[in-house]
């Protein structure tokens, strides 16, 4: 029977079991890298670098994990802070909200026809959101966190989080309706 995340974390803390941490990384790498790829608009190299930094920080700060949320959620919180730090250092421009739904983020030739897959359209639409709005939506809908949990993870007031979600959903509706 495979060990739970809590058991693996205990093994890392008590026995400095690196194999246990390796197992934690394997279980959470896909979710973490996917989350960061969404924030970095498809820049896979940047997302993987940030994911690696996130996991190293998680290893160093493992004692601070209190178990109030899942380990994956805790990782996403660290990842979001890492991403914000990266944005501040690089002083990137805010996401262009007028970016069309079918414009790929990697700079390849744009496809004038919308995708027939609504999931891909949703992913592309979410990539046009501001990072904090995208994170708020992902945490509350894709990761299943409550608004309160997501607000704590993002380090913002509950009202601010709800505003992010409202604005993000309004923008998504307008983009998705354009291709309905």
């Amino acid at each position: 029977m495979p060990l739970s995340d809590a058991d693996l974390i205990a093994r890392v803390l008590v026995f400095s079991d690196r194999h246990a941490f390796s197992e934690l990384v394997k279980r959470n790498q896909s979710s973490l890298r996917g989350f960061l790829r969404g924030l970095s608009k498809g820049d896979h190299a940047l997302a993987d670098d940030l994911a690696q930094e996130t996991l190293i920080e998680a290893y160093r700060s493992l004692r601070k994990f209190e178990g109030g949320s899942t380990f994956n959620t805790w990782l996403l919180g660290i990842a979001y802070n890492r991403f914000r730090g990266h944005m501040r250092r690089n002083r990137e421009e805010p996401v262009d909200m007028s970016l069309e739904l079918d414009q790929p983020s990697d700079g390849a030739t744009s496809n004038p026809h919308p995708s027939s897959d609504i999931g891909q359209d949703l992913d592309a639409a979410m990539a046009t959101l501001r990072p904090e709005e995208q994170v708020a939506l992902r945490l509350c809908y894709c990761e299943g966190l409550s608004h309160e949990e997501a607000a704590v993870l993002m380090g913002c007031p509950l009202g601010t989080l709800k505003t992010h979600i409202l604005r993000a959903k309004a923008h998504l509706r307008s983009l998705l309706d354009a291709y309905a």
Binding site: V25, K26, Q29, S30, I118, Y141, K169
Partner: protein, 119 residues
């Protein structure tokens, strides 16, 4: 508006990020991890002990050449003539307390200095 919101919410909840193959990512992370936490803990203990050992001769040196004979004389006196009265007891214990305090301060300073140097 409510129906659209409900539809969007359902769509959002059904979103599943495509699985990303590991492709060596975990190995790279493990290679980049800091050294063993247990070894780091032992290193801290060794530094503390080394600082403590270094602080003993340093404290004696700073206290002056007559300190150690005087301290031993005080301790011998306290044993030969045990003092039960509080003021007498505090006189006898004073050099010992100062010495112990000096040890603690020197060890703390030394430990902090060595940590900064080795970081």
């Amino acid at each position: 508006m409510d129906a659209d919101d409900s539809k969007l919410s359902k769509l959002m909840k059904s979103c599943k990020t495509e699985y990303i193959e590991d492709a060596g990512f975990t190995s790279r992370v493990m290679a980049a991890l800091p050294s063993d936490r247990r070894i780091a803990g032992n290193r801290r203990l060794l530094l503390l002990l080394a600082s403590l050992l270094l602080s003993v001769p340093l404290s004696l040196f700073l206290a002056g050449p007559g300190f150690l004979p005087g301290l031993l004389a005080q301790v011998r006196l306290s044993i030969e003539r045990p003092v039960l009265v509080l003021p007498g007891l505090s006189l006898g214990i004073l050099p010992v307390a100062c010495f112990a305090l000096g040890l603690v301060v020197a060890a703390s300073l030394g430990f902090g200095f060595v940590r900064r140097v080795l970081r």
